[in-house]
């Protein structure tokens, strides 16, 4: 299933990033606008090699369980289905329902940074710039090694800050975007 679902995920993520930034340009309206600016690059959990794992420790000491890196893991089909639904809902302007659907997906796969990123996008589109920034920060905390997603989160944070009139904060977030893109 992996090849099918991975490409499907890519498609879904691409579609969502097309749709939701469209409405994020107009944060205080519920109606999504068609994207008029160049499409942002698709966010794909491109995966990263896990950090070097030290040799097994002595048996007396508990083996450290290394935290899971967000490597290219299979997205559960249930999460794919919910992302599809969220996309349809966001497309039709029903951001509330899209948020509910994304929360359902987070219950199933709570450490998936892409889901948190999408929830941040929906909140931004709803005009909830503080929550949008917090959710993007949360997404980043789960996206170690995924620089593309981190850059997108910082971009979203910049937009959220600008919406609140925090121009300095927005610029500092944009510097993060540039740093990450040079990775």
């Amino acid at each position: 299933m992996s090849s099918v679902s991975v490409s499907r995920i890519a498609g879904t993520v691409l579609a969502l990033t097309i749709v939701i930034p469209g409405c994020s340009m107009a944060p205080y309206t519920q109606t999504p606008r068609p994207a008029t600016r160049p499409l942002p690059p698709p966010v794909v959990d491109r995966g990263v090699t896990s950090p070097e794992r030290p040799a097994m420790p002595a048996p007396v000491v508990p083996a450290p369980v290394y935290p899971a890196a967000p490597v290219q893991r299979e997205q559960p089909p249930a999460v794919v289905a919910l992302l599809d639904t969220a996309e349809v809902q966001a497309n039709s302007g029903d951001l509330d329902a899209a948020a509910v659907t994304l929360e359902r997906a987070i219950r199933i796969d709570s450490r998936n940074p892409i889901l948190w990123h999408h929830l941040a996008q929906v909140r931004l589109a709803e005009g909830e710039s503080v929550q949008a920034e917090q959710l993007a920060t949360k997404s980043n905390s789960l996206a170690a090694g995924n620089y593309a997603l981190q850059a997108r989160n910082w971009q979203l944070i910049a937009e959220a800050r600008r919406n609140r009139g925090d121009e300095d904060g927005a610029r500092s977030a944009e510097r993060q975007v540039r740093n990450l893109k040079s990775h």
Partner: protein, 773 residues
């Protein structure tokens, strides 16, 4: 002409005078009567409009989402379906049927209006292997399905003070068979009369004589409905007259369908303890545990038969009587050709199929509902909660709740036996949450789960002891230039003199001191003296600040003993504190409610997932690592006597003076639970955190397989091998080296002496002593 006219005028004047006299004589009673009619009219309309919408709020658990990989046993799925009153059958055919073949369950879901969408009925086959869902297919086509959501279990209602309950049905949802049977038996002229039917009384008499029993009553459905508007069942002539007038008025204002719909929802059909069962919708659930749409003809007949006397024909108390009455109704239905003779015979041959009565107190999970109600009271008025028919979607996970209730009481009973305490001496409380979503999955307010008394999970403020310590260590680790997990802490005798002259000299639990010990080890073994020194070193105001950021809202006094937990918190507050830690430093206000919907399904209020970055993720990561050591090597190691080593846990015990309170707070990748054990009279229990609350926690998580990793990778974290005795880098020669995470650039630079010694090792203790010579 003029004369005539005059005379005429005179005559008419006379007539007028006489008429006005009559009018005057009539006016007073006429006005009184008119006023009375207006009064009745207002009353009848008020009652009718009011009654139609007086609905208790319904509280639902979370709907179970089934997907491949979900940890779930076949028994758990069966229990969930049973709580939803799905019928166990040999082959599932109808909505609400379930059949089970060992680890494969086949069922047909009920349609349900969820928060985000209406899920239609689906024919589903779920296979389970090794404690998880392995396959979901469409029961008809065999096509794979990725996700199925069940309808949520209803876990309670908020009733108005007069304890009436109903499940509102719309006329178009009511099966015609039921309506036909009802009209046939109770009021054949319903569609033609104007509220009162004098002839019906005679007809009823005749029918009763013919049937040699009472099959028909004389009053119309409209009159019966009016009768229900009164709360008493007094039988006087005035009352009968009033009812007749009100019936006429009702018919004048409302059409037949409206009256019938109100009747179907209003009629009194039984008693469930203090709860009055009104309407066919609720009666269907009360007697058959399923919605009206799923009943068969003979079940309709039984319900219709009950109208005449819900107590006299109570099918649970008087099954024979109820059955005779049912058969009588079936005969009437056959007579009017609502059933053909064969159907009637078949219907009569069937058992009534009334479910066994369950004392399901109105609210199944009082402690959880208490929490829901408190949260709602902030946003709604009491009368809206009990009359507007709100639908409240909560976060309750019945699987976790059942498990919690089971293990808490059982474990406390065992602990009492072990401690030689009389039964029911110990009390307990617990809260279980999902970590990332901050959703409250289960709450125990005491060991008797159906008892809606003191809710210890929310209201018991108890000294917390060592469960507070992670806040002290977190405060330190948020200064990575000063503290790492390998930093050696001083666990030598401490005497602290407060500004007022009080002297404080904390002791370790084992009454010994441990000299220099790495920070992670001091937390894992819960060394009091090292922690007290650390608290003083980082600053107690810093520690109270950390506790605030973790989600403790009350102001805590910055006394030195705070670092050792000499403060009182409720289990829920402790849970909030650990939620922030467990979720990598993001605080999510714990939620018991997802959303509130109006009776018509319109969303009124959402309680969305909210997060707030409150603690540096890297520092939270380090504390979680130390808490892993606490349960692998330290005070919490009793956990792994009964849990698989593969289940990764971080946790902390807490014990208070003279063993009065026993705490355990612990989390896996997905779930967090905080358990308190103690006594309501605050006497010693003889239990430490490890011998009391920890065991409850262990029992609770024994059934759990948690595939989520405990920690997520944090970019600025790197691992180093450390020699625990020196807190320095370990080389090949070092025994018992540990692999510890560090924030990049903060790992020790020096190598431990053992690292240079590839030959036979020095005895570590000797080496340790040398260090201090």
């Amino acid at each position: 002409m003029a004369r005539r006219r005059k005379r005429r005028r005179k005559t008419s004047r006379n007539k007028k005078t006489r008429r006005s006299l009559w009018l005057k004589l009539l006016l007073v009673p006429g006005l009184v009567l008119a006023a009375y009619l207006v009064y009745l009219d207002i009353q009848v309309r008020h009652q009718f409009d009011g009654k139609r919408w007086s609905l208790p709020a319904r509280v639902y658990a979370r709907p179970l989402e089934i997907y491949v990989g979900l940890p779930l046993t076949a028994d758990q799925l069966a229990a969930e379906l049973s709580a939803l009153h799905y019928r166990p059958v040999r082959a599932a055919r109808q909505v609400g049927d379930v059949s089970r073949n060992r680890n494969v369950l086949h069922f047909i879901t009920r349609p349900f209006v969820h928060l985000d969408s209406t899920d239609p009925s689906r024919n589903i086959r779920v296979s389970i292997a090794d404690g998880a869902v392995s396959r979901i297919t469409d029961g008809v086509s065999g096509k794979a399905i990725s996700l199925v959501r069940l309808d949520p279990v209803m876990v309670g209602s908020f009733y108005p003070s007069h304890n009436e309950d109903r499940v509102l049905v719309k006329l178009e949802e009511v099966p015609p068979a039921l309506i036909n049977a009802l009209i046939a038996v109770e009021d054949r002229g319903f569609y033609s009369h104007r509220g009162v039917a004098p002839l019906a009384i005679l007809r009823a008499l005749w029918a009763n004589v013919r049937a040699r029993g009472v099959v028909q009553g004389g009053s119309t459905l409209t009159q019966q409905l009016v009768k229900n508007f009164y709360l008493t069942s007094e039988r006087t002539l005035t009352r009968k007259l009033n009812e007749a007038i009100m019936a006429l008025l009702l018919e004048w204002h409302y059409d037949k369908d409206e009256i019938l719909e109100a009747y179907l929802n209003e009629v009194y059909l039984g008693q469930d303890g203090s709860r009055a069962v009104h309407g066919f919708g609720l009666a269907s659930h009360f007697y058959f545990e399923r919605p009206l749409a799923e009943l068969s003809d003979e079940q309709f007949a039984l319900l219709v038969g009950l109208v005449k006397g819900p107590s006299y024909y109570n099918p649970r108390r008087h099954p024979q009587r109820a059955r005779q009455r049912r058969d009588l109704v079936i005969n009437v239905m056959a007579e009017l050709e609502l059933l053909d003779p064969e159907q009637a015979t078949q219907a009569k041959s069937r058992e009534p199929g009334v479910s066994r009565y369950q004392e399901k107190a109105i609210n199944t999970f009082p402690a959880f509902l208490d929490m829901v109600r408190r949260q709602l009271r902030r946003d709604y008025r009491e009368e809206d909660l009990t009359s507007e028919g709100l639908r409240i979607f909560t976060t309750l996970d019945p699987q976790s709740q059942w498990q919690l209730e089971k293990v808490l009481d059982a474990r406390l009973a065992r602990l009492e036996k072990w401690q030689g305490l009389p039964g029911d001496t110990l009390e307990g409380a617990a809260v279980v949450t999902s970590i990332q979503g901050g959703e409250v999955l289960a709450v125990a307010g005491g060991r008797k789960p159906r008892f809606a008394g003191f809710n210890r999970a929310l209201d018991a403020q108890r000294p917390v002891g060592s469960v507070i310590k992670p806040a002290v260590y977190l405060t330190a680790l948020e200064q990575p230039e000063r503290y790492t997990l390998a930093t050696l802490l001083d666990d030598t005798a401490l005497t602290y003199t407060a500004p007022n002259g009080d002297v404080w000299a904390p002791q370790n639990y084992d009454r010994e001191f441990h000299d220099q010990t790495p920070l992670y080890n001091a937390l894992a073994h819960s060394y009091n003296v090292a922690t007290a020194r650390l608290g003083l070193a980082v600053g107690l105001r810093q520690v109270t600040g950390t506790l605030k950021r973790l989600g403790i809202e009350q102001d805590l006094p910055p006394y030195p003993s705070l670092a050792l937990g000499a403060v009182e918190l409720s289990p829920l507050e402790v849970t909030q504190m650990y939620q922030t830690l467990a979720s990598g430093g993001f605080r999510t206000p714990l939620r018991a409610i997802r959303a509130v919907l109006a009776a018509d399904g319109k969303p009124l209020q959402r309680y969305p997932l909210q997060v707030k970055a409150s603690v540096q993720p890297a520092a939270a990561f380090l504390v979680t690592t130390a808490l892993r050591y606490a349960v692998r090597q330290g005070t919490g190691r009793a956990l792994y006597q009964a849990l698989p080593a593969t289940l990764d846990i971080a946790g902390k015990t807490g014990t208070t003076d003279e063993l009065r309170d026993s705490w355990f707070a612990g989390y896996t990748g997905d779930r967090l639970a905080v358990v308190w054990v103690g006594r309501d009279d605050n006497q010693p229990t003889g239990l430490t955190g490890s011998t009391g609350a920890l065991l409850v926690w262990r029992d609770l998580f024994a059934q759990l397989s948690d595939p989520a990793p405990l920690q997520s990778l944090v970019e600025e974290i790197e691992y180093q091998r450390i020699d625990p005795l020196s807190g320095q880098l370990a080389g090949e020669g070092c025994q018992d080296a540990v692999e510890l995470p560090f924030i990049q650039g903060t790992a020790p630079q020096e190598s431990a002496p053992c690292a240079y010694d590839a030959g036979p090792l020095q005895h570590p203790v000797d080496w340790f002593k040398e260090l201090f010579q």
